[in-house]
């Protein structure tokens, strides 16, 4: 089932945009730009046409573009597999609903690692040639946590797809709902801003923060790695991100097991 999914995912032209954007960027910097490294190996500055772009800005822009491409591209195969016309073909094979569901997540993660790896290779070549640097922890951080970031969005979208069977609705609502999770990382500030003092509200919103997969949490971990390496990762934030993926993930799994085609 994983091989079947990977064949389908690799044919997805929307997802091709992900490595293509990185490839074009590498070409442009090779041809017209430059990279200057700062004192430590995690920071660098891109110079393109007289414009100086810091590594943090570059990384946040690329994470945003990657997220946008994958939020649109990744769920399309699952949406098609959910239609009774396709599900009947797949589930009449000797695979259970459980295999079907878990294999889908496994395939998506394999693809995310694969495309991330391609992008890292391109960036590594670019940085080695242009600035003679190899920020290993940055690359490893990308490889480990960019797929995690994408997973947070994918889990929400899958849940909404199962509930609504609407691709557009799932993509839009999933994107905004997961993005909305960023609010929960600054709960205290929000309480202060709105003057909320009720303990019940505190508990309710804290609980809510664990219900929605925290994309912002994964993004912050990426930024922590870029700014200070793996030792800078906030362990509690990492656990929070993983735990926040569970409720929607498990609910999707349960609903999928009960779904009729």
């Amino acid at each position: 089932m994983i091989r079947y999914n990977l064949r389908t995912l690799l044919k997805n032209k929307v997802l091709w945009a992900w490595p293509i954007v990185y490839f074009l960027f590498t070409l442009v910097i090779f041809a017209w730009g430059d990279i200057t490294s700062a004192q430590n190996s995690y920071s660098f500055i891109l110079v393109l046409g007289g414009v100086h772009i810091s590594s943090s800005m570059f990384i946040s822009q690329f994470v945003s573009i990657t997220t946008l491409i994958t939020v649109v591209g990744l769920p399309s195969h699952f949406f098609k597999n959910l239609k009774s016309e396709r599900a009947a073909l797949l589930l009449s094979k000797p695979i259970s609903r459980s295999d079907f569901f878990l294999a889908d997540f496994a395939s998506v993660m394999i693809l995310a690692f694969f495309y991330t790896f391609i992008c890292i290779m391109l960036l590594a070549i670019l940085m080695a040639v242009k600035a003679a640097i190899f920020p290993f922890q940055l690359f490893l951080g990308f490889l480990l946590f960019l797929p995690l970031l994408l997973l947070t969005y994918y889990i929400t979208i899958v849940l909404i797809l199962i509930l609504t069977n609407s691709f557009l609705g799932a993509v839009f609502f999933g994107y905004f709902l997961t993005g909305f999770s960023s609010l929960f990382l600054d709960i205290k500030q929000i309480f202060r801003f709105f003057g909320i003092k009720s303990k019940l509200a505190h508990v309710a919103i804290t609980l809510l923060s664990y219900l929605i997969p925290s994309a912002e949490g994964a993004e912050r971990i990426l930024n922590q790695i870029f700014s200070g390496g793996f030792t800078a990762i906030d362990g509690s934030l990492f656990v929070f991100v993983l735990v926040s993926c569970l409720p929607f993930g498990l609910l999707s799994y349960y609903l999928f097991l009960k779904k009729e085609f």
Partner: protein, 242 residues
């Protein structure tokens, strides 16, 4: 026993359609047809057999195991009435993709694809599915169905959009399989000429209930054709078989 269903019930709350199959069976090597008008419950029953829909109650044994056990489908192939393949795949790529889930048991995937292409007169293996005509798509779906070397083939309206020549090629292949491997077939159709003189057992279904069943010998004895048998039962009010 290939398939045995007993007291299977399913109610759809929205449409208030109720399916009730008291007794149904397919023995090894049997060619069984379920006939009935549109909306009579043929496809619903098949989907319940394959656990795509969940029965409210009843027992179904598929290849001597509970039908809910996905391993029972190791030797079952299903062609749904409505299907959706990956449009951007060629026929060959699509068949390889599905062979990743369940490969042919007796030969290699490439060999099986070539065998099916030859049997079904297919010369569009490298054409993308989105560029196929309706008949070509249906033939492709039949290739998908016969890709794995199974014991039971469940075909829901398999001849939609096929011309007479193509139908004959496919029926010839089915009979070849029956001769070589004693396969069993469960077919649903409302085109009676498709199964005239080919089925060993026929079941008639109406409003979610089996209203009659007969063997080929019984039909030949009492009626001139399957069509006459069908009309005889659906033009008259028949009691439900037990």
């Amino acid at each position: 026993m290939i398939l045995k269903a007993k007291n299977v019930e399913k109610t759809f709350r929205k449409s208030s359609f109720h399916l009730q199959i008291d007794h149904f069976k397919i023995t090894e090597g049997n060619f069984t047809a379920v006939l009935g008008p549109n909306g009579s419950g043929k496809s619903t029953f098949i989907k319940i057999i394959l656990d795509l829909l969940f029965a409210d109650s009843g027992q179904i044994t598929l290849l001597d195991s509970d039908h809910k056990n996905c391993k029972t489908r190791t030797e079952v192939s299903y062609l749904p009435e409505k299907f959706s393949f990956q449009d951007n795949f060629t026929v060959r790529q699509m068949l390889h993709a599905f062979a990743d889930i369940k490969p042919p048991r007796l030969t290699t995937t490439d060999h099986k694809i070539d065998e099916l292409a030859s049997a079904f007169n297919v010369n569009f293996l490298d054409t993308k599915i989105k560029n196929l005509s309706k008949g070509m798509t249906q033939t492709t779906a039949l290739m998908y169905t016969f890709l794995a070397d199974d014991r039971l083939y469940i075909l829901d309206e398999p001849f939609n959009g096929l011309d007479a020549v193509q139908k004959k090629a496919i029926m010839d292949y089915i009979f070849q399989l029956k001769e070589e491997r004693n396969i069993s077939i469960l077919i649903t159709t409302h085109i009676l000429s498709d199964i005239d003189k080919t089925c060993d057992t026929l079941y008639l279904i109406k409003n979610g209930r089996l209203v009659n069943s007969a063997t080929k010998a019984e039909i030949q004895q009492k009626f001139s054709s399957v069509e006459e048998y069908y009309l005889n039962h659906f033009e008259n009010n028949q009691s439900v078989i037990s």
